[in-house]
């Protein structure tokens, strides 16, 4: 280990201990010293992890790598734990075993549903993938999942992503015509005036058609077809911009949350 790395690590460890002591001494409304110590440690550790991840903005470093690997391990375990409790304990055990329900303290459904012994068997077949010789048998369970999902998606996507979207695009281009005076009387985009309604419906109908034309590559984008395609990409660019803006604001709100944690929960500089 390089000398500079050792010095930085030492400083971080000292700061961590100092923060732990400080947070323990200032822990609000705790019953015992142990609780105060735990609370102090947890807040300090969360702050350390936050800063460790943020340190990547400077460059890759051992603290970031530590936090990154911890995140991978913890996330995998979290998914597994939730899957176990919500699916196996919540859905399977109450239907197959009173004994298992007793162990995990969940209510038994009252009767043994033997059909529910099939999914664990298929699950065990899936685990056969780990076996060098019997790996092929895991395909049976995989085939069940793939077939069920494909069959489920076929009508569902056809209805929600195709038929519903097309039917939603069939909009009137002239709405509630009440004369020219009324037509220009309210031009605010938030209003339900005629001009805005007609413009909006026109944008939807032409946007969907031209957007689809842009993605149609079996015909060269030239002439009227090319113009429609160009209009389509304008609409697509507006959408990508809107999605980009939304994503950035979502990330910034997460950042604000982390900074609030550091300033309030950890350092206590601002009041929450």
């Amino acid at each position: 280990m390089r000398k500079s790395t050792m010095i930085v690590t030492l400083v971080v460890v000292l700061l961590f201990i100092a923060s732990w002591i400080f947070k323990t001494m200032t822990a609000p409304e705790v019953d015992s010293t142990f609780d105060a110590l735990t609370q102090g440690f947890l807040v300090t550790f969360a702050a350390f992890l936050t800063l460790a991840i943020m340190s990547f903005l400077y460059q890759d470093n051992p603290f970031y790598k530590f936090a990154e690997h911890l995140y991978v391990g913890v996330s995998a375990a979290y998914a597994m734990t939730l899957g176990f409790w919500s699916t196996l304990v919540g859905n399977l055990f109450p239907r197959v075993s009173e004994t298992l329900c007793g162990w995990f303290q969940v209510e038994f459904s009252g009767q043994h549903d033997w059909q529910f012994l099939i999914p664990p068997i298929l699950g065990i077949l899936l685990l056969m993938r780990l076996s060098p010789k019997g790996g092929w048998i895991s395909r049976w369970a995989l085939a069940f999942i793939v077939g069920t999902t494909a069959g489920l998606n076929l009508p569902r996507f056809l209805r929600s992503d195709f038929i519903e979207q097309i039917s939603g695009t069939f909009l009137p281009l002239l709405v509630d015509w009440e004369g020219f005076g009324h037509f220009f009387s309210n031009l605010s985009l938030s209003a339900s005036g005629q001009f805005v309604a007609i413009l909006s419906n026109f944008v939807i109908v032409s946007g969907v058609i031209c957007g689809l034309i842009y993605f149609f590559f079996s015909k060269e984008h030239k002439g009227a077809f090319g113009s429609a395609s160009r209009y389509g990409i304008w609409i697509l660019m507006i959408t990508f911009g809107a999605s980009f803006g939304y994503t950035v604001m979502g990330r910034i709100s997460l950042l604000v949350g982390r900074l609030t944690f550091l300033m309030d929960d950890w350092l206590g500089i601002i009041s929450g």
Binding site: E68, V74, P119, W140, A150, F162, L189, R251
Partner: protein
């Protein structure tokens, strides 16, 4: 047999699930519910398979002393820590330890990791917008309108900006999203048909 039986299972289950949609009978819905529950339960075993694979990669890295092998110990410690606290030895997901692991380890890591993307997105956008093209400017303008909508210091501009942003989201944005979704829908239907009919077989792997 190694490939025929899985193809048969896919055909039967796929066909049943597709046809079931058009048969709203109590019996067919009963089987449909069962199959959905079964799929979810098998999915948990798939998760276990993933965890096992992860453990094997990490332990191999440690055993071979590959580059940065020390961090694999951290990953395994996080994994087993969370599993031990979460799988019931101290009360499961409602336990004090699991909740603390979640609130003080997982939440900070998750939120900070994703908040970091704000900086990278901003930097990538800066480079993209330097393209000086009209289309890039349209994208930028749309993004700016949506972003400043959330600004609390707009004063009298707040209402018109809000209505413009809402209009962009509800109309041009929806039009393009619809075009994309129609494409996705057609793609999904085509892929599902290929899987059910056994034309798409990559999920079976080699051999």
């Amino acid at each position: 047999m190694k490939k025929e039986i899985p193809l048969f299972i896919v055909f039967i289950t796929g066909l049943f699930m597709a046809v079931q949609f058009f048969v709203p009978h109590a019996k067919s819905e009963w089987v449909y519910e069962y199959m959905l529950d079964w799929t979810i339960i098998i999915g948990v075993f798939a998760l276990a398979l993933g965890i096992w694979s992860f453990v094997r990669v990490a332990t191999n890295k440690i055993r071979r002393k590959s580059e940065n092998w020390q961090y694999s110990i951290v990953a395994l410690a996080g994994l087993f820590g969370m599993i031990i606290f979460g799988l019931g030895f101290w009360g499961g997901v409602e336990s004090y330890m699991f909740r603390n692991f979640f609130n003080f380890v997982m939440v900070p890591l998750h939120a900070t990791m994703f908040s970091l993307l704000a900086f990278f997105i901003a930097s990538a956008a800066f480079r993209a917008f330097r393209a000086h093209s009209l289309l890039a400017s349209v994208l930028l303008l749309s993004a700016i309108i949506i972003m400043i909508r959330f600004n609390p210091f707009l004063g009298p501009l707040s209402e018109p900006i809000d209505s413009l942003a809402s209009w962009i989201l509800n109309f041009p944005n929806m039009a393009a999203k619809r075009a994309i979704v129609i494409g996705i829908g057609l793609g999904m239907v085509a892929t599902a048909l290929k899987v059910i009919l056994g034309i798409e077989r990559t999920y079976l792997g080699g051999d």
